[in-house]
Amino acid sequence: MAHRGVVSHRGPQPTGSYPHAHIHGNMVWVTAQAGRDPGNGELVEGGMDGQMERAISNLAAILDECGSSLDRVIRTQIMYTDPSDVDAMDAAYARSFHAPLPVRTSWGVKFLAAEPGTELVRVQIDCVAEVG
Protein backbone atom coordinates (compact mmCIF):
# COMPACT_ATOMS: atom_id res chain seq x y z
CA MET A 1 0.00 0.00 0.00
CA ALA A 2 1.37 3.42 -0.94
CA HIS A 3 2.62 5.67 1.78
CA ARG A 4 4.22 9.10 1.76
CA GLY A 5 5.30 11.98 3.96
CA VAL A 6 3.71 15.40 3.54
CA VAL A 7 5.27 18.79 4.28
CA SER A 8 2.88 21.70 3.83
CA HIS A 9 3.82 25.35 3.36
CA ARG A 10 0.79 26.10 5.54
CA GLY A 11 2.22 24.57 8.72
CA PRO A 12 5.24 25.83 10.70
CA GLN A 13 8.29 24.39 8.99
CA PRO A 14 9.67 21.28 10.70
CA THR A 15 12.68 21.96 12.97
CA GLY A 16 13.92 18.37 12.83
CA SER A 17 13.84 15.22 10.73
CA TYR A 18 10.10 14.86 10.37
CA PRO A 19 7.41 15.79 7.88
CA HIS A 20 4.10 17.35 8.92
CA ALA A 21 2.23 14.17 8.25
CA HIS A 22 2.49 10.66 6.88
CA ILE A 23 -0.26 9.08 4.80
CA HIS A 24 -0.74 5.35 4.60
CA GLY A 25 -3.83 3.82 3.03
CA ASN A 26 -6.86 5.74 4.24
CA MET A 27 -5.19 7.14 7.34
CA VAL A 28 -2.97 10.11 8.03
CA TRP A 29 -0.68 10.45 11.05
CA VAL A 30 0.10 14.07 11.89
CA THR A 31 3.24 15.20 13.73
CA ALA A 32 2.61 16.93 17.05
CA GLN A 33 2.00 20.63 16.51
CA ALA A 34 2.83 23.45 18.90
CA GLY A 35 1.42 26.96 18.82
CA ARG A 36 3.93 28.23 16.28
CA ASP A 37 3.03 30.77 13.65
CA PRO A 38 3.36 29.15 10.20
CA GLY A 39 4.72 32.44 8.82
CA ASN A 40 7.69 33.20 11.07
CA GLY A 41 7.87 29.92 13.00
CA GLU A 42 7.61 31.72 16.32
CA LEU A 43 5.45 30.74 19.22
CA VAL A 44 2.25 32.79 19.39
CA GLU A 45 1.33 34.83 22.45
CA GLY A 46 -1.63 34.21 24.70
CA GLY A 47 -0.48 31.39 26.95
CA MET A 48 -2.32 28.07 26.76
CA ASP A 49 -5.34 29.59 25.03
CA GLY A 50 -3.36 31.17 22.20
CA GLN A 51 -0.96 28.27 21.80
CA MET A 52 -3.68 25.61 21.77
CA GLU A 53 -5.79 27.52 19.26
CA ARG A 54 -2.78 27.96 16.95
CA ALA A 55 -1.62 24.35 17.36
CA ILE A 56 -5.07 23.11 16.33
CA SER A 57 -5.24 25.50 13.38
CA ASN A 58 -1.85 24.14 12.29
CA LEU A 59 -3.29 20.61 12.51
CA ALA A 60 -6.31 21.73 10.49
CA ALA A 61 -4.12 23.24 7.74
CA ILE A 62 -1.97 20.10 7.54
CA LEU A 63 -5.04 17.84 7.48
CA ASP A 64 -6.58 19.94 4.72
CA GLU A 65 -3.37 19.63 2.69
CA CYS A 66 -3.65 15.84 3.12
CA GLY A 67 -7.28 15.71 2.02
CA SER A 68 -8.64 15.33 5.53
CA SER A 69 -10.12 17.66 8.16
CA LEU A 70 -10.64 18.12 11.89
CA ASP A 71 -14.02 16.39 11.77
CA ARG A 72 -12.36 13.23 10.45
CA VAL A 73 -9.86 13.00 13.31
CA ILE A 74 -10.11 9.65 15.09
CA ARG A 75 -7.66 10.14 17.91
CA THR A 76 -5.67 12.97 19.48
CA GLN A 77 -2.83 13.08 21.98
CA ILE A 78 -2.09 16.21 23.98
CA MET A 79 0.96 16.91 26.10
CA TYR A 80 1.01 19.97 28.35
CA THR A 81 3.34 21.38 30.95
CA ASP A 82 1.15 23.01 33.62
CA PRO A 83 -1.77 21.29 35.40
CA SER A 84 -3.50 24.65 35.89
CA ASP A 85 -3.81 24.96 32.09
CA VAL A 86 -6.26 22.06 31.81
CA ASP A 87 -9.46 24.14 31.65
CA ALA A 88 -8.05 26.55 29.06
CA MET A 89 -6.80 23.56 27.09
CA ASP A 90 -10.24 21.94 27.08
CA ALA A 91 -11.97 25.22 26.19
CA ALA A 92 -9.74 25.87 23.17
CA TYR A 93 -10.10 22.23 22.10
CA ALA A 94 -13.90 22.37 22.37
CA ARG A 95 -14.03 25.46 20.15
CA SER A 96 -12.37 23.55 17.31
CA PHE A 97 -13.48 19.94 17.61
CA HIS A 98 -17.15 19.05 17.16
CA ALA A 99 -19.21 15.86 17.09
CA PRO A 100 -18.34 13.20 16.16
CA LEU A 101 -15.50 13.88 18.61
CA PRO A 102 -12.24 11.93 18.53
CA VAL A 103 -10.94 9.80 21.38
CA ARG A 104 -8.26 11.58 23.35
CA THR A 105 -5.32 10.91 25.62
CA SER A 106 -3.63 13.79 27.42
CA TRP A 107 -0.94 13.98 30.04
CA GLY A 108 1.45 16.32 31.76
CA VAL A 109 5.09 16.48 30.69
CA LYS A 110 8.19 17.99 32.27
CA PHE A 111 9.05 20.06 29.22
CA LEU A 112 8.37 20.43 25.50
CA ALA A 113 10.80 21.27 22.72
CA ALA A 114 12.26 24.77 22.82
CA GLU A 115 11.18 27.01 19.97
CA PRO A 116 12.24 30.44 18.73
CA GLY A 117 10.83 33.30 20.81
CA THR A 118 10.68 34.04 24.51
CA GLU A 119 7.59 32.12 25.59
CA LEU A 120 7.75 28.48 26.63
CA VAL A 121 5.90 25.84 24.68
CA ARG A 122 3.00 24.89 26.97
CA VAL A 123 1.20 22.35 24.81
CA GLN A 124 1.43 20.18 21.75
CA ILE A 125 -1.15 18.01 20.00
CA ASP A 126 -0.91 15.23 17.42
CA CYS A 127 -3.60 13.18 15.71
CA VAL A 128 -4.58 10.27 13.50
CA ALA A 129 -7.32 10.96 10.94
CA GLU A 130 -9.22 9.39 8.10
CA VAL A 131 -8.25 10.49 4.62
CA GLY A 132 -9.53 9.92 1.08
Binding site: D90, R104, V128
Partner: protein, 128 residues
Protein backbone atom coordinates in the same frame (compact mmCIF):
# COMPACT_ATOMS: atom_id res chain seq x y z
CA UNK B 1 -24.91 9.97 6.36
CA UNK B 2 -22.63 7.28 7.70
CA UNK B 3 -23.41 5.74 11.08
CA UNK B 4 -21.99 7.47 14.16
CA UNK B 5 -18.49 6.02 14.67
CA UNK B 6 -18.36 7.12 18.32
CA UNK B 7 -19.25 5.28 21.51
CA UNK B 8 -19.95 6.80 24.92
CA UNK B 9 -21.56 4.62 27.58
CA UNK B 10 -22.98 4.90 31.08
CA UNK B 11 -20.85 1.98 32.32
CA UNK B 12 -17.70 4.10 32.15
CA UNK B 13 -17.08 7.49 33.79
CA UNK B 14 -18.86 10.31 32.00
CA UNK B 15 -16.42 12.34 29.87
CA UNK B 16 -15.36 15.52 31.63
CA UNK B 17 -14.04 17.14 28.51
CA UNK B 18 -14.59 17.29 24.75
CA UNK B 19 -14.03 13.63 23.91
CA UNK B 20 -15.89 10.35 23.47
CA UNK B 21 -15.12 6.98 25.09
CA UNK B 22 -14.29 5.18 21.87
CA UNK B 23 -14.32 5.54 18.12
CA UNK B 24 -14.36 2.85 15.44
CA UNK B 25 -12.43 3.03 12.21
CA UNK B 26 -11.24 0.41 9.74
CA UNK B 27 -11.90 -2.67 11.87
CA UNK B 28 -10.27 -1.13 14.94
CA UNK B 29 -11.64 0.59 18.01
CA UNK B 30 -9.69 3.43 19.63
CA UNK B 31 -10.31 4.05 23.33
CA UNK B 32 -9.77 7.32 25.21
CA UNK B 33 -7.37 7.08 28.15
CA UNK B 34 -9.24 5.91 31.25
CA UNK B 35 -8.42 6.80 34.84
CA UNK B 36 -9.58 5.25 38.12
CA UNK B 37 -12.93 7.03 38.34
CA UNK B 38 -16.02 5.15 39.48
CA UNK B 39 -18.58 5.18 36.64
CA UNK B 40 -21.45 5.62 39.13
CA UNK B 41 -20.13 8.54 41.18
CA UNK B 42 -17.57 9.97 38.78
CA UNK B 43 -15.09 10.20 41.68
CA UNK B 44 -11.71 8.56 42.00
CA UNK B 45 -11.88 5.18 43.69
CA UNK B 46 -10.14 4.91 47.05
CA UNK B 47 -7.28 2.50 47.68
CA UNK B 48 -4.31 4.11 45.98
CA UNK B 49 -2.58 3.03 42.83
CA UNK B 50 -3.83 -0.59 42.77
CA UNK B 51 -7.47 0.39 43.05
CA UNK B 52 -7.12 3.21 40.51
CA UNK B 53 -5.38 1.05 37.93
CA UNK B 54 -7.86 -1.82 38.29
CA UNK B 55 -10.76 0.63 37.93
CA UNK B 56 -9.14 2.22 34.88
CA UNK B 57 -8.83 -1.22 33.26
CA UNK B 58 -12.44 -2.01 34.27
CA UNK B 59 -13.49 1.17 32.46
CA UNK B 60 -11.51 0.24 29.34
CA UNK B 61 -13.05 -3.26 29.47
CA UNK B 62 -16.60 -1.88 29.67
CA UNK B 63 -15.97 0.45 26.72
CA UNK B 64 -14.44 -2.34 24.64
CA UNK B 65 -17.43 -4.59 25.41
CA UNK B 66 -19.86 -1.89 24.26
CA UNK B 67 -17.81 -1.51 21.07
CA UNK B 68 -17.95 -5.25 20.37
CA UNK B 69 -14.37 -5.95 21.41
CA UNK B 70 -12.60 -7.14 24.57
CA UNK B 71 -9.32 -6.93 26.51
CA UNK B 72 -7.99 -10.03 24.73
CA UNK B 73 -8.31 -8.24 21.39
CA UNK B 74 -6.22 -5.22 22.38
CA UNK B 75 -3.43 -4.60 19.85
CA UNK B 76 -1.69 -1.78 21.67
CA UNK B 77 -1.93 -0.30 25.15
CA UNK B 78 -0.41 2.92 26.45
CA UNK B 79 0.01 3.67 30.14
CA UNK B 80 1.03 6.89 31.85
CA UNK B 81 1.75 7.01 35.58
CA UNK B 82 3.21 9.65 37.85
CA UNK B 83 5.20 7.81 40.53
CA UNK B 84 8.01 5.47 39.55
CA UNK B 85 7.47 3.67 42.88
CA UNK B 86 4.24 2.33 41.32
CA UNK B 87 6.05 0.55 38.49
CA UNK B 88 5.99 -2.94 40.04
CA UNK B 89 2.32 -2.65 40.99
CA UNK B 90 1.52 -1.45 37.48
CA UNK B 91 3.23 -4.46 35.92
CA UNK B 92 1.68 -6.91 38.39
CA UNK B 93 -1.89 -5.67 37.88
CA UNK B 94 -1.45 -5.42 34.12
CA UNK B 95 -0.22 -9.04 34.12
CA UNK B 96 -3.31 -10.11 36.07
CA UNK B 97 -5.68 -8.41 33.63
CA UNK B 98 -4.09 -8.96 30.21
CA UNK B 99 -3.40 -12.43 28.83
CA UNK B 100 -1.90 -14.05 25.73
CA UNK B 101 -1.72 -12.90 23.01
CA UNK B 102 -0.51 -9.81 24.85
CA UNK B 103 -0.75 -6.39 23.21
CA UNK B 104 2.21 -4.21 22.33
CA UNK B 105 2.67 -1.69 25.10
CA UNK B 106 4.17 1.72 25.78
CA UNK B 107 4.37 3.04 29.34
CA UNK B 108 6.10 6.04 30.81
CA UNK B 109 6.18 8.47 33.70
CA UNK B 110 4.11 11.61 33.29
CA UNK B 111 4.81 14.86 35.16
CA UNK B 112 1.13 14.92 36.16
CA UNK B 113 -2.24 13.57 35.09
CA UNK B 114 -5.76 15.01 35.09
CA UNK B 115 -6.89 16.18 38.56
CA UNK B 116 -4.21 14.19 40.37
CA UNK B 117 -4.85 10.78 38.81
CA UNK B 118 -2.01 8.33 39.53
CA UNK B 119 -2.37 6.32 36.33
CA UNK B 120 -4.24 6.15 33.02
CA UNK B 121 -4.45 3.63 30.21
CA UNK B 122 -5.70 3.79 26.63
CA UNK B 123 -5.74 1.22 23.86
CA UNK B 124 -6.47 0.24 20.29
CA UNK B 125 -8.27 -3.09 19.78
CA UNK B 126 -9.62 -5.20 16.93
CA UNK B 127 -13.32 -5.67 16.33
CA UNK B 128 -13.16 -9.18 14.85
Amino acid sequence: MSPDPTITIKEAPEPRGPYVHARQHGGLVYVTAQIGRDPKTGDFVKGGFDAEFNQAIDNVEAILRAAGSSLDRVVKAQIEFVDEGDLDAMNRIYGERFHEPLPARTSFGAAFLWKGARVQIDCVATLD
